[in-house]
Amino acid sequence: MNDVAIAGIGLHAFGRHDGKSEADMAVFAIREALADAGLGWNDIQYACGASKDGRFADSLVSRLGLRSIPFTNVSGGCATGGSALINACMSIQSGLADIALVVGFDKHLRGMFGLNTQEWNVDSWYGEIGFLTTVQFFAMKTQRYMHDHGISHDALVKVAMKAYRNGSLNPKAWRRSEMDYETIANSRVINLPFRQYMVCSPSEGAAALVICKGDVARRLTRKPVYVKGYALRTRQYGSLEVFSPSKPLENAPSPTTIAAQAACEMAGIGPDEIRIAQVQDSEPGNEIMHMAETGLCAHGDQERLIQEGNTGIGGSLPINTDGGLMANGEPIGASALRQVYETCLQLRGQANGRQVPNNPNSGLCQVYGAPGVSSVVVLQC
């Protein structure tokens, strides 16, 4: 099978962009990625795109050029962008295409996500009774996790502070001001233990990648970033997932755990060799839990790492170095690709102002979405 490398990256700033459609942002990101790779739309042989609320991704061809190339649309909750990348990686590995494009974009309405029960395989009573909100679920999962593994409220606040600090260093982030401890800790309660300034908001944005066979990438760029491992996994019986009226008594590893193991195995490296990670951080609980679910640390170790400052950019395990979901917001189709964009900048040594020191050469990107799906990619240069 062919190896896969990223030859070009592009990203439209995340945030609120009145007057710009999601397609405008997607096309911007695509053009930036193509320019970064030194290629044009005419070089793309396969495309895969993702948007939750925007137009179908393949409709973008009317703005790029009608060339009858295969263009697949995917969806998968908040893991949507990862699903698109993996789909495109498979096109390269299989030999279907030498050069492929991945794009993810969204422009969500303000306020928390409005959802409908039919999309998520629960009946209408589940929404009427007030269970159909994602943050509520993550708050419950986090409360239990804090109880089981000794994670403090203080750690939640510090994770949020780190998100805004990193966001302030990222010119394409939405929230670009640091926030102090008291402001976060005393903000209004959303779903205990989460307060308003801990919770990411839906936002707008787009990201795109040009991926290709390794030998093509090596002709295009001096520093290709290789997608050494990837995995998309759905849930097993026994795991605790969003929008579940019940949970079995027996436990099972989460989709994130399974996907991370598979991605690292495919990459041939252990999680201890990962130097930087972007994980699903819709609020601090998820960042903390996903650090362990991906195998980057042991359950419970997060408290020590956070208190020591070791998840910051200068630490031993930098997490969400671009500010993550908390500072960038969540345009569902784009988020996973934003993680890859950031990791590529870091591995290339191009993350000006927020560069992780000592030349990190491997990174992990993880997203998780309803109703229990995770995508993990392992990048190396």
Binding site: S244, P245, K247
Partner: protein
Amino acid sequence: MNEIRQVPIAPGLFTWPSDHPRLLGSQCAGCGIYTFPRTGCCPKCGLETLADTELANRGTLWTWTSQSFRPKPPYDAGDTDETFKTYYVGYVELPGQVMVESRLLVDDETQLKIGMPMALEIVKYRQDGDREVMIYAFRPLSA
């Protein structure tokens, strides 16, 4: 005179009217697991060998949270942004069976603690014309 009718929020979730209401789930004849609500296909073994069963009405609080802002539709409690009151949600572990997601009947978070015993109640959720829409919920079991 107008008679108030009590209607479960959805059919088949719990027994009602009843002096001893129970949640309704399924148990798999193949692998023995329980589900809530009832389902036709076992999520563990994939067989269609489930039978309707009444679940335990006592359990232990496994986790919880507050809902401190009024969710968007399809949330429908008959309240408005002005009348909305924080509510509480959790998972209650029914011994030997399954954990169920449930509204929790408490006034504030100081009354909730992981591990505490809980008891099932059927309560009025909202008024739809002449009908009282009923839901299941769990209340801390007083000592």
